[in-house]
Assembly symmetry: D2
Homo-oligomer: 200 residues x 4
Amino acid sequence: MPSPATPGRAGTPSPPGQATSLPGWRASHWFNTPTPVELGDLRGRVVLVHAFQMLCPACVSHGLPQALRVHEAFQGEAVTVIGLHTVFEHHEVMGSQALQAFIQEYRLPFPIGIDQAAEAGPLPVTMAQWGLNGTPSVVLFDRQGRARLHRFGVVDDLVLGAAIGQLLAERTPVAASVSLDRVGTGTARPACDDEGCVSR
Amino acid sequence: MPSPATPGRAGTPSPPGQATSLPGWRASHWFNTPTPVELGDLRGRVVLVHAFQMLCPACVSHGLPQALRVHEAFQGEAVTVIGLHTVFEHHEVMGSQALQAFIQEYRLPFPIGIDQAAEAGPLPVTMAQWGLNGTPSVVLFDRQGRARLHRFGVVDDLVLGAAIGQLLAERTPVAASVSLDRVGTGTARPACDDEGCVSR
Amino acid sequence: MPSPATPGRAGTPSPPGQATSLPGWRASHWFNTPTPVELGDLRGRVVLVHAFQMLCPACVSHGLPQALRVHEAFQGEAVTVIGLHTVFEHHEVMGSQALQAFIQEYRLPFPIGIDQAAEAGPLPVTMAQWGLNGTPSVVLFDRQGRARLHRFGVVDDLVLGAAIGQLLAERTPVAASVSLDRVGTGTARPACDDEGCVSR
Amino acid sequence: MPSPATPGRAGTPSPPGQATSLPGWRASHWFNTPTPVELGDLRGRVVLVHAFQMLCPACVSHGLPQALRVHEAFQGEAVTVIGLHTVFEHHEVMGSQALQAFIQEYRLPFPIGIDQAAEAGPLPVTMAQWGLNGTPSVVLFDRQGRARLHRFGVVDDLVLGAAIGQLLAERTPVAASVSLDRVGTGTARPACDDEGCVSR
């Protein structure tokens, strides 16, 4: 297993050869895109997935503004920003209609998918498969579609920028097994705080 | 009619003698208080009413944090902060249950009432009676229960602090007719922007 | 002796009757004014004196921007903002010529005086007479020329605004002995930190 | 000549093969290092040079805090941050002694050199040789010692992070002529404003 990047240090993506496979997202509905967006359609591009909940304070104050800054800063570069609404609490008030109003009022411009509800349990499918600790989380896929960085909580712009820059610099295909570099706080926390919302 | 304070200048409360009567708020439900809060129960105190919508970006980024700062800065002073959920759009996704989740996640500590829905039309009762232009809005009542300042949009902390300080300094009862100093942007605007959400 | 306002709570000015006399400032040189500014010339106005050093980080990041905000927010009100360069360290590099360049580059618009150097010792005359703990400090004089609030370190805009508003509301002359409400951190600190620079 | 990156877009470093030679810095005095720091000694590392003046407001509010963030975010990575005091105005009050007090009060931890004064004219030697437009400016050298990014004014953290990440990803030596990607505002501006100080 790859050694995870130390939180607080520069968010170096894991080496390509130290990765294990991670499936693409599973979305039941999309906004801001005429057709569903699939990871497989984005080969050759660096993909930032921002997992959020519309009632998660740190998502609204930090995560989504950062996703928007990435979307704007890398216009014209091979970077795609995707929002993923990974609802794991207050399901009854964060449905599709509520999210639509939220996206409209906050004027979010990038494609946003609703993480597929699980048949049982509060965690949606992608969130469970990716092992996300809560919201906000960012997952960064390289040009080959491999998950290379995985962060829960507030991530520094310099650190996220460096990870994106490093993945942009990988221009040649690399044959490798795929892995996920999980970087989280690791400590159990109750509900939401300044850093984000934890799924228990 | 009193000359309204010029936006951008210090938010001087209107003189006590230049006021006309404004009724108290009408709330259909309360959070963070065991019993409904009435303006008449708060005589002797300066009352800041922060009118907001949970999906109004400027309320979340500016208005509510400011209301929280006022609540904390004037602990021990004769100042009461009240939130008023004045929903005039997206009614179907900003109901009581959604607001409850919002208050819980954002950890808002002060009493918050839901502005009474009107029998017809999108504007709730208090919002219509007070002539609020949109959200966020602040209305400041003096120790006599008279509305003395009325602002739509983002208000500077220095300006709001000065208005509160001025009303705190009025320690003796003043007999006067009551009036409302309406200060808004005055320009028609579409839906929500950085300054707030406008009701049309 | 008046009970000092508790740091962190609203910065209530001391009652007029609980004050002892504080002399006006002593400046050896002025910028941004054709003639020296004297406290006695400002009767009827609330006067905010911002004591700073040009190489004090908290003065540059917090104090001076706040003084500028006060200057701008209360344009047209009976409020005067005065800067006082109270150099108590690094005297050799914070002289008149250096301050002039600083004022020019930072585009400070309000009158700024250089606190009179003492005949002996590092503390300038006004700083010593007023008992300032360091920089940044604010001293607030009422319309009668009495020092009513005295703060060292970073002061919240709401708190400072409330104190100004309260003093603005005192429109009638009050006969009283004058006093100073000293509010400082009280703890010994080395040189400069995020809160300011301490004189030992 | 290489096409310069468009301001506002991601700050992509220029391709290695499109560079022309840029000499190392020329410093007359150093702080925070026992011996002078030479570009040639830093082969294998990405080097960020932050050119500043201690009385340049945008350097103090934006540039130096960003340099400090880079210094801290990339601890343990092959990144070195260097400050360069490129005084082109107010020379008489920004000398070595003044800078020393500034560095002490602002607690800057990385090596800072004083750009060598020119025999004639206000511009110091390195600033002139590198063609810097003013302060703050950042120049980014790759692991081979080639200048790859050149920015005047406020640079976004995401953009700077991406450029650093991209240069960190270049782990193998690349034989190439060296060039400088100049990115400035291009418009003539008077003295200092929010974006920085311009040398005329």
